[in-house]
């Protein structure tokens, strides 16, 4: 790790955690049970494009562990860690294929995230009937993924180059 990127790591991890916290404050979920805004993923998406895959993975894991320890309930880590890692893997795959813009990559990540979370939930509760809520949740999270992807696009267009130069 280059030393000048260490500072970017810290700042971006902090930013991702702040977004997690904002999300936690808004938590009583808005449309469908189980679906959140996912604004923390905005940071991860920008990092993925500006700094690279390893950096995105590192910041994502840091964010998930710290924010679930600080803000969330006891077994939040159980839901968010597998979902976070798998959805990032999906996003890296989607980005590497270079068939999609950040919007498509973000949609992939959001949908993957919600699907993994629902499977973890059905495993924890012990019945598959939880999955019956999945279709609606997928629609909402795909829409959220699209919105965040559009925001990420405009962020990348305006500050992406500056960040890259420093990082």
């Amino acid at each position: 790790m280059r030393e000048n990127s260490l500072a970017s790591f810290g700042v971006l991890s902090a930013l991702a955690m702040i977004f997690s916290y904002v999300e936690f404050l808004l938590l009583p979920s808005f449309f469908v049970p189980g679906v959140k805004l996912g604004i923390a993923n905005l940071v991860i998406l920008v990092v993925l494009y500006v700094l690279g895959e390893r950096e995105a993975l590192f910041i994502n894991i840091t964010r998930i562990i710290l924010s679930s320890l600080l803000f969330a309930t006891t077994n939040a880590l159980l839901y968010s860690l597998p979902a976070g890692i798998l959805s990032l893997a999906m996003m890296i795959f989607a980005k590497k294929s270079s068939h999609f813009t950040p919007v498509g990559v973000s949609i992939m990540g959001a949908v993957c995230h919600i699907i993994v979370q629902f499977f973890v939930a059905s495993f924890i509760v012990g019945t598959m009937s939880v999955l019956r809520l999945l279709p609606l949740a997928v629609v909402v999270s795909a829409t959220m993924g699209m919105v965040l992807g559009l925001i990420a696009c405009s962020v990348l267009n305006s500050v992406g180059k500056k960040l890259k130069k420093r990082g």
Binding site: V125, T127, R132
Partner: protein, 126 residues
């Protein structure tokens, strides 16, 4: 810029595919629609603890092994969860009716409430 156009098109195709898949699974797989002779099944920690007829108005309190409680209320064919000891109270926002093919989940307390066909009621077989 030809590439960007292609990528944008792929984004749209992806989004449409996801919506189509969700709609398909909602219509054909997900919803266990019931119209006659329905029962309300209450599951706690993966085990069925109560099976109640939807027709009768009742109210039961379910306690799990961690002493966390939810009250399941059936009134006029509508099922609700009240007085949950969980934090988010998501489970209190959903109501179940016959044919809605929905399910109430209280994730923190590991409680599931759903409406299923009464297999003993022959009128209910479609």
């Amino acid at each position: 810029m030809e590439k960007l156009k292609k990528q944008r098109r792929n984004d749209r195709i992806l989004f449409a595919c996801i919506l189509a898949a969700a709609l398909f699974s909602y219509v054909f797989l997900g919803s266990n629609r019931t119209f006659f002779g329905a029962n309300v099944v209450v599951k706690s920690e993966g085990k069925t603890v109560y099976t109640l007829p939807l027709k009768e108005d009742t109210s039961i309190t379910v306690k799990n092994s961690h002493e966390e409680e939810n009250t399941v209320v059936i009134k006029n064919g509508v099922v609700k969860v009240q007085n949950s000891t969980c934090k988010n109270h998501d489970c209190e926002k959903i109501t179940l009716k016959k044919g809605s093919g929905n399910v109430i989940v209280c994730l923190p307390n590991k409680l599931i409430v759903e409406i299923v066909n009464d297999e003993n009621d022959l009128d209910g077989v479609m």
